[in-house]
Symmetry: C2
Subunit: 407 residues, 2 copies
C-alpha cells in the first residue's frame, strides 16, 4: 500500500512532443500484450536537452551512451526510448551492443537519426537483453504516438512501482503560457535487482541546452537527490529534460526564473511520488534541516538522518524516539555542537539547544509520529542555510519485498 493520500491529476500535453508505448514482453514473452513496457517520447522538432545521471561507479551502457549523446548533440535531440523489465546491465560485452540496438530501433520508429536518441533501461540485471522481442512489436509505439499519451509512458516504465508517476505545471511569461510535464519511476533509491530511478521531463519553454543543464543540475539536487528510501543508488538512474521551444521557433526566454520555479515544483513532485511509493513505506516524512553553514551540509545531514535504519524503524513504530535522531545527527560529518541542536516534530518542540524542552512529553511526540505524514525539523545553530529531504519508514514489508524477491 503506497502512501498516496490524493489522486494524481492527468498530465498536460507539451507542444512539440508526442508520446507512445508498446508491449513487447521485455521481461518475459508471457507479458507481451499484457503490460506496456516500452515508452517512446518523440520531439517533432530538434529539442534542447539536459540530463543528470547516477553517480554509481557501475554504470549501465545506456547511461554512457546517453551522456555521450547529451555532450555531442545537446541542441538536436529528437527522441527518448525507454524500457522496463530488463536493465541491460551486468551482462558483459553485449551490454553496449544491445544498448545501441535499442537506440537504433528508437531512431527507426521515430524517423530520426540514432545520434538524436536518448535511451534508458530498467528492470532485472544480469539477463540477456531481448532486443529481438522488442524489434518485433516496437511498431506499436509509433502507431500510438499522440500528444496526450503521457500516462501511458509513465505506465510503461514501471517495474515494482505500484502506481504510474507524473506531474505537470504551467507558467506564464510575458502573456504566453508554457508547459512542463514529467514522468518518473522508482520505488526506492534503488529497486530490487537494481532497477532504477528514472525521470523524463519535457517543456515547450524556449531555453537553450546549456541553461537547461544548469537549472536541471540545481533542481535535481533539491528534488531527486533529496529523497531516500533505503540510501542505495542504482546503476541506471537517469533524468532527461527536453525543450521543444526553440525548435518550434519561439523567442528565447530572457527571464528563466518562472521556468526554474515550475521545473523545481514538477521535479519535487515526481521525486516525492517515488518516496510515497517506496518499498514498504507507510509514512511520508519531511526532514527539514536549518541552521547549517551551507545548503550541502544541511542536505547531507538530512540524508544521514533519513537513511538511519534506527530512525526509520522508529518512524515505522510511531515511536518519537528522539535519542535515535540525535544519534544520527551526531554521526554526520557536520561539526555538530550538541548544545546548539534543537529538534521539532511538526509543532512539538522536543529538544531546545541540546536540552529536552521542559514542556515536552512523550505523548506529544508520539501523537506526531503516529501521523501518516509529518515534518521533522532539526536546527543545528551553526549558520543560515537549510535543506529538505523526504523519506519513508522501514517496515516489515521492505524486508518482505527485498529478502524474498528472487527466491
Amino acid at each position: 500500500m503506497p502512501n498516496l493520500p490524493y489522486t494524481l491529476i492527468k498530465p498536460l500535453p507539451v507542444p512539440g512532443f508526442r508520446v507512445g508505448s508498446a508491449s513487447c514482453g521485455v521481461k518475459s514473452p508471457d507479458l507481451k500484450g499484457k503490460r506496456q513496457d516500452i515508452a517512446l517520447i518523440v520531439a517533432d522538432v530538434p529539442a534542447q536537452a539536459a540530463a543528470v545521471f547516477t553517480q554509481n561507479h557501475f554504470r549501465a551502457a545506456c547511461v554512457d551512451l546517453g551522456e555521450k549523446a547529451i555532450r555531442e548533440h545537446t541542441t538536436d535531440i529528437r527522441a527518448i526510448i525507454a524500457n522496463a523489465g530488463n536493465a541491460n546491465a551486468g551482462v558483459g560485452e553485449m551490454e553496449r551492443v544491445w544498448a545501441q540496438q535499442l537506440i537504433d530501433l528508437g531512431a527507426d520508429v521515430a524517423g530520426v537519426a540514432p545520434y538524436q536518441v536518448l535511451s534508458a533501461s530498467t528492470g532485472v540485471i544480469g539477463e540477456p537483453f531481448p532486443i529481438e522481442r522488442i524489434r518485433a512489436t516496437i511498431g506499436e509505439a509509433k502507431d500510438s504516438l499522440a500528444e496526450d499519451n503521457w500516462i501511458q509512458a509513465a505506465e510503461a516504465i514501471r517495474t515494482t512501482d505500484t502506481f504510474a508517476k507524473y506531474a505537470s505545471k504551467q507558467f506564464e511569461v510575458a502573456g504566453k503560457t508554457y508547459t512542463i510535464t514529467g514522468v518518473s519511476k522508482g520505488s526506492g533509491m534503488i529497486h530490487p535487482n537494481m532497477a532504477t530511478m528514472l525521470g523524463f521531463i519535457a517543456t515547450d519553454a524556449p531555453i537553450p541546452a546549456d541553461a537547461l543543464q544548469r537549472m536541471l543540475s540545481k533542481v535535481a539536487n533539491v528534488s531527486f537527490n533529496s529523497i531516500s528510501v533505503d540510501g542505495d543508488t542504482s546503476t541506471n538512474d537517469t533524468v532527461y529534460l527536453l525543450s521543444s521551444g526553440l525548435g518550434l521557433g519561439y523567442d528565447e526566454l530572457e527571464d528563466t526564473s518562472a521556468f526554474e520555479q515550475a521545473l523545481e515544483e514538477v521535479a519535487i513532485k515526481l521525486a516525492q511520488l517515488i518516496v510515497r511509493d517506496g518499498e514498504g513505506v507507510t509514512k511520508f516524512v519531511t526532514i527539514e534541516v536549518t541552521g547549517a553553514e551551507d545548503e550541502e551540509q544541511a542536505r547531507t545531514l538530512g540524508r544521514t538522518i533519513a537513511v538511519s535504519p534506527l530512525v526509520k524503524t522508529a518512524f515505522a513504530g510511531s515511536d518519537a524516539n528522539w535519542g535515535r535522531i540525535i544519534m544520527a545527527i551526531g554521526n554526520s560529518d557536520a561539526p555538530i555542537q550538541p548544545e546548539k541542536v534543537s529538534i521539532q516534530a511538526d509543532d512539538v518542540l522536543i529538544l531546545k539547544d541540546g536540552n529536552l524542552h521542559p514542556d515536552y512529553q512523550d505523548a506529544l511526540g508520539m501523537a506526531v509520529f503516529a501521523k501518516q505524514e509529518f515534518t521533522l525539523r532539526v536546527d543545528i545553530g551553526l549558520g543560515d542555510a537549510s535543506a529538505r529531504v523526504w523519506t519513508g519508514d522501514l517496515t516489515h514489508e521492505y524486508i518482505e519485498i527485498n529478502a524474498e524477491y528472487r527466491t
Copy 2:
C-alpha cells in the same frame, strides 16, 4: 536467536585485577536483586591505561570524563565502574554531575581516588540517572570482588544482549606467560535507545600506556571498527584497555608483537560476538575486500557493502543477488573500475574482472548464501591492500525489535 554456533570458553583471571558486580535496579527498582547491572573492575596496582571512544558528536558525559582521566592519569588508573539500564545521556545539565557521582562511588568502593576511576554507562537515554539506588547497594560489588569473576562483569553490562560476551588469550614472551581477558556488550553498532558498544580489556603484560594506546587504536580499527549491524554509532561507545604488569613490578616487554597479536585476536573475538548477537541477525558474514590502494579504502568499501539494506536483506533471503553487491561497491568513494572487480562467495566465483563468470550458476551462489556463515570476497584490482568487515543480515526481527521497542 543469536548466531552463536559454539560455546564460549570461561575467561581467564588476569594477575593484578579483581572483578565484582552488583544488582542495583538501575533500570527499574523492580529489577533490584534480579539482575546484575553494575560491573566493577579493580586494579590492585596502578594500571597503564588506553581507550578508544565513539566518534559521534553527541557524546555522553561519561565519555568526556573517561577521556579526561586517560589523558591526565594514563599511568595511574585503578578501576572501571560501569552500569547497564541507563545511559545517563540526553538528560541535560545533571548528566555530568551524575557521571561524576558514579565515578566517586566507584572510587569509594574500590578504595582509590576518583581521578583513578574510568566509567561507562549504557541503557535507555533521556531518563534521570538513579544515583541513589546505585549508592544504596553498590557495596555488593566490593563484597563480590574476585579474580575469577569476569563472566559476572560481562553479565552486568548486558542490555538487549542475549548472551554475555567475553574472550581470553594467553601468550608467552621469554618463557613467561601473560594473559589478556576482555568483556564486551552490544547487539548492534547501536542498540535501541542508543545503548552502546562497550569493551573492557585487561592484561598483565608489562607495557607502558603510550604503547598500549598505539596498539589499541590500531587493533580497534580491525576489530570494533570493522563490525556493522546497522551502520549506526552510539553516543557512549567505549573500549578501555588496562595493564597491571608494570604496577606488579614486571620488567617492561621489549618485544610487543606477541602481545599485539593476542590483543587483536581478543578484540576481534569480542567484536564478532557483538555481530553474532546483532538484533535479529541470523547470518554471520565476513566481507573481505582485497586489491585496494590502502587498508582504509578496503575497510570503507567493506563497510559500504555491510551497511547496505539491500545487501543485508539479500543475506536474510539467502539470495545470491550479486547485482546488489556491485551496486553497493559502485556507491563507495573508492575509484572503482567495473572491469577490474571480481566477486566470490566462499569458493564460488561469481564475477571475474567485471563479467559474470561463465561457470557461475544462480544455484551455486544460492547454496553459499543459504549457509549460516560465509565469506564474501570482493577484489577491486587497484592495489595490494585488504581489510575484513563482519556483518549480519537484516531481518523481520530487527524491525520488530526496533519499531516496537518503546511502544
